[in-house]
Symmetry: C2
Subunit: 415 residues, 2 copies
C-alpha cells in the first residue's frame, strides 16, 4: 500500500478527532454502560457530534440512543410572535424525554456550543429572559441533584462559536483549544483524565478533612467571606449515581466546588473576568453582600441584566456555589475566553448566585426546595457563575474560630 493511500485526508483527520471526542464524552464523561440507554440533547448545529456519539454509543454496547434536537430558530420565532403563555411552556415530549431517561437509569449527554450567539438580538429582552421551559428545568435539576442519571455536558466547536471567541470563524483554532482543555492532545486521553480526576479527588478529600466553616476571598476589589454548612461536601471531577456509575458531569472540568450556606455571605467581590449572560456581556462586575444577600450590583456594562436576574426569585440574590481552581487549569493556562460557561468557569475560582447543588450537602438530596432553603441550601431558577480568582486573589479556608488556612496563593494550590 502506497503512502498516498495511507496518508489521512483532512476530512479523515477531522472525522477521527470527532470520533475521539465523542468517545471521550461517553467513556470518561457519561461512562456509558453496556446495555444502558443513552439520551442526547443537542441543537441542530451539533448534529455531527450527536452522530459520532451515537455511533460510539452502539459500539460501546448501548441498548438504544434517543436524541432530542432543539432549534434555536424555532425558539426565536416563539419569542418574537407567540402568545405570552408560550414563553415558559414545557412541551410534553421534552418533559417525557428527561422523565424516561431518569426512569431508565440512562446515560445522558448534553451538547453545548452556541452557533449563533447574536440570534436573539433585537428581540424584547424581557421575553428573551422569560423564554425557558420551566418544568423541564425543574425535572432536570431534581434528576441531577438526586444523582439518578450518569450525565455529561460537552461543547461542539462550530463556526459561530469560533467567531464569538476569536472574532473570526476559525473552527480549527477552536478545535485545538477544545482538544487541549479536554486532554485530547494526549496519546491516551482516558488515562490523562484518570490522573487528573485523581488530583481533583485529592483536593476534595483534603478540603473535606478540614471541614472549613467558611471560605475567604481577598484581592483587588474583593474581601468576601462565604459561610459553609456543617454538611457541605466538596465535589469536583467525577461523581457517582445512586446506582453506582461513576461519571464526569462536565468536560472539561478543573474545579472543586461545594454548596455554601446562602445566609452567610458578607463583604464584596469584583469579578476577574467578563461574563456572557443571556446575550449580554457583563464587564467589571462588583457585588456587595450583606447577610447572604446581594445588596448592590455595579458593572461597567450589563449591570441591569444582573440586577434583573438576581431579582427573579427569592434565591436568585444569594450564593449557590463556591468553586476553587488553580493555575494548573488547562482552561486558565490557555488564556482564551470561550464565551461558554462550561469552559470559562474552569479558568479560575468562581462563585455562583442562584440554585445550589443539593448533592453537595449531606442529607439534602431528597429535600424539596422550601426545605432546602430552610437548611441553608439555596434554591432558585437561576444559576449564574462569575469568576473571582487568579494570581491576585488569595483564598483561605476559615475554621469556626476564624483561623485561616491558605488554599490559594499566587494562583497555586496550597493544601
Amino acid at each position: 500500500m502506497s503512502d498516498a493511500v495511507m496518508a489521512p485526508t483532512v476530512e479523515g483527520v477531522a472525522e477521527e478527532r470527532l470520533a475521539r471526542y465523542a468517545e471521550l464524552a461517553l467513556r470518561v464523561g457519561c461512562n456509558l454502560q453496556p446495555g444502558q440507554q443513552l439520551f442526547v440533547s443537542a441543537s441542530l448545529d451539533h448534529a455531527p457530534l450527536v452522530r459520532a456519539a451515537t455511533v460510539a454509543a452502539y459500539r460501546l454496547g448501548a441498548e438504544y440512543v434517543q436524541v432530542l434536537y432543539e432549534d434555536e430558530h424555532v425558539k426565536r420565532a416563539m419569542i418574537a410572535d407567540a402568545p405570552d403563555e408560550a414563553l415558559e411552556f414545557s412541551p410534553g415530549f421534552a418533559k417525557r424525554f428527561i422523565e424516561d431517561a431518569t426512569a431508565a437509569r440512562a446515560a445522558f449527554l448534553a451538547i453545548r456550543g452556541d452557533a449563533e450567539p447574536e440570534l436573539f438580538d433585537g428581540l424584547d429582552g424581557e421575553r428573551v429572559g422569560r423564554a425557558r421551559m420551566i418544568e423541564v428545568s425543574e425535572i432536570t435539576s431534581t434528576t441531577v441533584s438526586r444523582r439518578l442519571i450518569n450525565w455529561c455536558v460537552v461543547a461542539y466547536p462550530n463556526p459561530g462559536w469560533a467567531r464569538s471567541v476569536f472574532g473570526e470563524p476559525d473552527v480549527e483554532r477552536l478545535w485545538n483549544a477544545v482538544a487541549f482543555v479536554n486532554r485530547l492532545d494526549e496519546d491516551d486521553p482516558v488515562a490523562a483524565w484518570e490522573a487528573h480526576l485523581g488530583r481533583l479527588e485529592e483536593r476534595r478529600e483534603a478540603l473535606d478533612e478540614r471541614r472549613f466553616d467558611a471560605i475567604h476571598f481577598r484581592g483587588p476589589g474583593t474581601d468576601l467571606t462565604v459561610g459553609l454548612l456543617p454538611g457541605s461536601r466538596w465535589l469536583g471531577g467525577a461523581t457517582i449515581t445512586t446506582f453506582g456509575v461513576r461519571h464526569v458531569p462536565n468536560l472539561p472540568t478543573e474545579e472543586v466546588f461545594t454548596t455554601p450556606d446562602w445566609r452567610r455571605a458578607d463583604g464584596f467581590a469584583r469579578a476577574t473576568r467578563p461574563l456572557s449572560l443571556i446575550g449580554s456581556v457583563v464587564r467589571d462586575l462588583e457585588l456587595r453582600f450583606q447577610g447572604g444577600r446581594i445588596v448592590d450590583v455595579r458593572a461597567s456594562s450589563g449591570a441591569d441584566v444582573v440586577r434583573s436576574e438576581t431579582a427573579l426569585d427569592e434565591g436568585a440574590c444569594s450564593l449557590g456555589e463556591v468553586a476553587l481552581v488553580d493555575e494548573s487549569s488547562r482552561v486558565g493556562r490557555l488564556d482564551v475566553v470561550f464565551n461558554e460557561l462550561l469552559f470559562d468557569e474552569n479558568a479560575a475560582c468562581h462563585l455562583a448566585y442562584g440554585s445550589a447543588y443539593a448533592n453537595a450537602v449531606e442529607g439534602a438530596e431528597e429535600l424539596e426546595n422550601d426545605e432546602l432553603r430552610e437548611r441553608g441550601v439555596n434554591a432558585s431558577s437561576v444559576h449564574t457563575d462569575f469568576m473571582v480568582g487568579g494570581p491576585e486573589v488569595e483564598v483561605d479556608g476559615l475554621d469556626a474560630r476564624g483561623a485561616a488556612t491558605p488554599l490559594l496563593r499566587d494562583n497555586r494550590w496550597q493544601l
Copy 2:
C-alpha cells in the same frame, strides 16, 4: 428609493418562495386555526421549511409550535449496530409527541424530502425493513383514521433529493417542479387549490354514487381485481376532523382513493414506476395476490426490502388502499419521477399494502385494529404505495355481478 434597492436579491426570492410554501402548507394543507397548537415532524435537513412554518404559524395565531426532529444518521447507526430489539422500539418522547397533538386537537405538519437517499446502502436489508417505531406508527395511524388532527404532509426541496431526481443537486429545478405541482406558480395558489379540490370532490361523489363492488386493473403484467367493502367511501383532496376543521392531508394531491376489502384481492400487478423504500429503490416490482394476500414478490432490485416489509405483521401483506389518478394530474404531466411517494403516488393510479384508512369505510372509524381486520379493513404498521397506472393500464369499476364500468382509458377519466 432606487431600483437597485427595490430589486429582490436571489436570497430574497428564495426566502419568499419558502415563506409562500410554508403558508400554503398551513393555510391549504393543515388549515391551522387561530389559537391552535401546531406540531411539526421533520428531518434535520428540513430545518429551513420548519423555521418558515414556525414563523408563519405564529403569525396565523398559533398558540404554540412543537417541533420534533429526526436524524437519519442516528437511525443509520441504530440499524448498523444496535441490538435487535432496538429496531422496532418507539421512544416515549416520540409517542408523547403524537399523543399530545391528538389530545390538544392540534394541527400537524409532517415534512418529507429524503436528503440522503443512499444513506442506508450497505446495511442489512432485513434490519432496514424492520427499523420503524411500531407503536408510534400505530398511534399515528389511529389518530389519522379517527380524524383527530388536521394534518398535512409536504416535502422540502433539498440538494440530495434533487440529485436523486435529476442526477445532479439542481435544487432550483426541483423547486420549480415542486412549485408547479403545488400550484405555487399560480397568482393565487389558495384559489387554485379550491378549484382543484372541487374537481376531486366531483369524482368522489360520482364513484360513491356507483357503489362499485370491486376495481379491476388490466395492463402489461397486471390483471388484478381488488374487492371493495359495502361501506367503502371514496376520499381525496380535502377531509375534515371530528371537530370540524377541513384540511388537505397531502400536498400535492391528485388522487381519489378508498379502502378495499383486504380479503378480496386476486391476480397480479406490475408496478409502473420504481418506488423508494426506506433508503432502497425497488425496481420492476411484481406482486402476486391470492385470497387477499401477497404470495409472491419479485423485483429487479429491492425485492428483499418489500419481502421483509410485507412480513412485518399480519396485515402487511394485504392491501389497504386503492387510488385513482388520471392524466390531468400535475405530477403525471411533469413526467418527473420524484423518488418520493408523496409526489409519485399522484402521478398515476396506485395501490398500497398495509394499513387502511378506517375513515374511508362507513362506521369503521371507532373500531380497534382486530375489529377492523374482521370487517375487512386492513390494519398494519406498514403502509406502502406502489404505482399501477398510466396510459397502458385500464381501470374498471365492477358491480356485484361483475359488470364493468370504465373508469380510466388512455389515462383519461371516464366517469
